[in-house]
Amino acid sequence: MAGIWMRFHELIRGARLDGELDDEVGLHLQMMEEEFRRRGMSEAEARAAARREFGGVAHAKEAYRDQRGFPRLESFAKDVRYALRGLRRSPGFTAAAVVSLALGIGANTAIFSLFHTLMLRMLPVAHAEQLVAIHRTGGWGTGTVSLPLYREIAGRADLFNGVLATGGVAKVRFVAAAGGRDEFAQQEFVSGNYFQVLGIQPVIGRLFTGEDNRVPGGHPLAVLSYDLWRNRFGADPAVLGRNVIVDEQLLTVIGVAAPGFHGVAPERHTDIWVPAMMTHFGQAMSPNMWWLMPLARVRPDVPVQRVRAALDVLMQQHLRTIYGRSYDSAMRKKAIEQRLEIREGSVGLSMLREHFGKPLGVLLALVALVLLAACINVANLLLARGAARQKEIAMRLSLGATRARLVRQALTETLLIAAAGTAVGIGLAACGVRVIASFLPEEAGNPFSSAPDLPVLGFTIAISAASALLFGLGPALRSTAVNPAAGLRSGGLDRAGRPMLRRVLVVAQVAFSVVLVAMAGLFGHSLLAMRSVDLGFRNQSVIAFSLDLPRLWKGNLRQAQDQLMKTLAATPGIYSVSCAFPGLFGGGSSDATIRVPGSERTAMEPVDVDVAKIAPRYFETIGAALKGREFDRNDTATSPKVAVVNEAFVREFLPGEAHPETRWLSFDDSKPEGGSRTSIVGVVRDIRQDGIQQKIAPRVYTPFGQGDDPTFPPDTLVRTALPLAAVRAAVLRELPKLGAGTAVAEWGTVRQRIDDSIFETRLLATLGGFFGVLALLLAAVGLYGVMSYGMAKRAGEIGIRMALGARRADVVGMVLGDALLLVAAGLILGFPLAWAAARAVHSLLFGIAAVDPLAFGGTGAVLIVVALGAAFLPARRAASIDPMRALRHE
């Protein structure tokens, strides 16, 4: 112990101790001299003898100092100081290395943090690895099951040690105390056994049991998350038994869940759990209402194969019981084709993962390539630096420095570069995450952890360390492999004279760029293809929103909607106002079975078609071409029933009919010839209103003013030249007149909704493009470096050529040709890689082939242009060499 304190003391007081050592050694020599003088030597002899007896004074002192303090630490500190000095001396190199590394590490960290949350992070529950998600495929929507089906699955104790169900997480209004103000909270409807199956304990109070989820509407209970309890209730234990209002229901708080548990969806944070029986769905018990997602704990003794087979049987029996006698054969077929899939459940249930998981994986792979390219870039810069320092290194070797020491010093430098790159990269990652977040639609949830994630930080440090080793070790070994004698001779660049390694690295860089640029091209082209899909309507800047009405609202929806539209239509600057359900890119669907008299298609049995209720001027507002007439204010509940159909409807039911507006259809499907008439008054172009990739299907539009009262607030659509905020203000002014508690939901332009619907493609194209540009920049820097270095090496040769009559154009051509050679090698290596990558991402592309000529041809062209650009400066420099000067230098 005393030794360590002494060493610390030595570490801190190094300079003073140096002085003491000098004194001590000086005294020793002096005493020796005196001793020798006493024996009769002359002063000079005595001094020489003393020195001889003592041995090397400097050596002794050095050996002493080497032992003092913490020798390794001190030599490391010395290396760090030395490296810092060196880096400060060449700011261009330092900046290039740190920035390229920071971009690579930052991009990786940002993508990985998202990937980790969505794909890798285990639920914080006991034995998460036993969990499986039971996922319905086919039919209507995917993922969810009905309550009766869930009960059948949950009853299979021979397969599962418990099956929970969740209705998903939704943002709802929340009042923490009676009379308190309205806030928002994330609510999750869950089965009674939810917490038991997951093995979550309460912090205070109790959690739900099966008894708390028996009777529809009969369990007004709530469990709070630890975070909500702490942030909103100050962690007050008196919260138990208190009443809160959640989505307009009065609930009693019975407990608080363990800290760190936020529900089973990685991209959401549940604040309040409520028994599923408290749902507002009128048809919650119906076998046709798909709204629950099951998560099951598989019995350890049951192989997954058996679970899968058992679920297949269960599902088939279930579907046949319910749909077996359905008279609509198309619907029967669609229903019976549904299946239950077993999926990994340890990472939770995520809707976002469903469609964003694969793009995220692709991004992670691309970003790894970017980091590799960045590492190669830094390695190349280091090699160039090493070559420039050969003389210095040769000098130090000949002065007695060991190679190991020099390698250690070089590695210290790379360590500093990596550390700086990591620090800057973590900052960049924060920006990157914000950029990605701006692409995600609000309803996608929030997969970004607010607190720094330890595994993510670990990942970042690991990739930084791996990169440092990757780009640092080679150059360190290479640049210290110098023969001191040869290195000190003039010129002294014999080994670096053939920068073969650097050329190979540049070729690799070009190959990576080919992959990244080709991917950027594919995703960019794919996005363009999506953008150019004809949606059937022109006015994407139309503002869309819907009324958000309190559940206890007693007004008449149709009247309120009409009043709102009337007020808005009278506002100056607003051209037209309409409404529709379902609207544009707003989700929601509505269908009905019809007969079309005279159509063979419905002669035998009625057919299910999409329907929409629209107000007057709908097609004018959204800019859709129409033959015939739109609905107007005369189409009321008492006037004759009318409909507008789309072109697909005519193709399907009235093929070859020149005047569809003379025909009629019937929503009364009991008789082949139909019941009450609904006259077709117009034919509108096919409108893709649910998504760009939506398949065109027959649709019937009916007037908002006719038929049953609407059950959901429709999409209100406003065509205007006013800014969004002005329209919003007009809407907010009108809201109080419609009743207390009314609000606006899903506010924005239709263009924003379309963007949200293709956010994965937009993100892939944007980030892919960014990575592609980054890779090109790195490749350009690499090429430029190698070309100008090669130029400097060959200055003498070029001088001779020019003296012998070569023209400037020849010299330029020679250098450019050399650059093209490197790019050609990179292209030859890169294209097969890019082709393989393109095949892997094929399912993410829209409207183009995996081997897209535009993307691949463009990649080749871009790389050649970049290569020529990067080589142009060195080429011009080469061409302006003065032959006399170059030869004299030689």
Partner: protein, 116 residues
């Protein structure tokens, strides 16, 4: 030069024992004094670079076997004096035993050669 050939290089690790033993019997010494004593005791048979003494002293101090302090030498000069600690004395005992054992073993081998 001829005397030099008769001198023996210090065996690895034996310098520590020499220093400790000298300090244990002679009391506190400064560096030069210690070097003189070692040379005297060895009868001038050792080829000791006196400079190597200082790293050795630091090493022993790190281990807590000796300690140092600045004092005044015989002719009124400031010098650093080294003295053995209690731990150092224990170490001397241990090493002396080891050394005796090693010598005894080597001795047996030497005699074996004589017998042949």
């Amino acid at each position: 030069m001829s005397t030099r050939e008769a001198k023996t290089d210090i065996l690895q690790g034996t310098l520590d024992l020499m220093v400790l033993r000298t300090l244990a019997t002679m009391g506190a010494q400064h560096g030069f004094g210690l070097a003189q004593r070692i040379q005297q005791i060895s009868g001038g048979m050792l080829d000791l670079n006196q400079g190597t003494l200082y790293p050795a002293l630091l090493r022993l101090e790190h281990r807590g076997w000796i300690r140092s302090r600045w004092g005044v030498s015989g002719n009124n000069r400031r010098a650093k004096f080294y003295e053995i600690t209690a731990a150092g004395r224990r170490q001397v005992e241990r090493e002396s035993e080891d050394w005796a054992r090693t010598v005894a073993i080597m001795d047996r081998f030497e005699r074996l050669t004589e017998m042949e």
